[in-house]
């Protein structure tokens, strides 16, 4: 149900371009349903994921 993937931004330029990755870490939720820029503590990341999934 949950697929967690670390992506080397340098090696997959088409992906970094598609999701406009300019800084790392950047978390992309469900191929663009949500985007979280920067490192978030667990609770805040959870809130971001919940918010992304709700629209």
């Amino acid at each position: 149900m949950i697929h967690a993937e670390a992506v080397d931004a340098m090696e997959f330029p088409e992906l970094t371009q598609r999701f406009s990755v300019q800084g790392v870490p950047q978390t992309v939720i469900n191929s663009g349903q949500g985007i979280v820029v920067g490192a978030y503590p667990e609770q805040q990341l959870l809130a971001e994921i919940q918010s992304a999934l709700s629209h």
Binding site: H3, E5, D8, T27, L53
Partner: protein
Amino acid sequence: MEKLLNEQIVGQIRQAFAGISNPVQILFFGSRENCEYCDETEKLVREISEIDERVNLSIHDLNDDAALATQYRVDKAPVIVIAGRDGDKVIDLGIQFSGIPSGYEFSTLINDILFASKRDSGLGTATREFLKSLTKPLHLQVFVTPT
């Protein structure tokens, strides 16, 4: 051929792997086409798996093993899938590293292996409850750079 990991690093990994509780399965997916870092990544996971017998490794090709790649949601190369292992059974934990885990990301890979072994994400109760309640697949891609 010269090793990628020197003796000191191998010693540190061996020490970290002492904490392994359950066997782990690494599935490496490479490709013969347009893959600058496939050979080096394969070499790296081979050297890691040689350090501890509980870290099992299987080598696959994105095209030749297309069905397996699809099963593990692998659509590029190189990809390192970190799974659990119970006897002969591979347990898909949904964890993968896409690209070569060099520099700082190398310790991410080692930690992923330890997480897979413990079968414990270390996440809090609220996060676990939410993730359990999911009815649709959730794909998280964390973009990183090695430095």
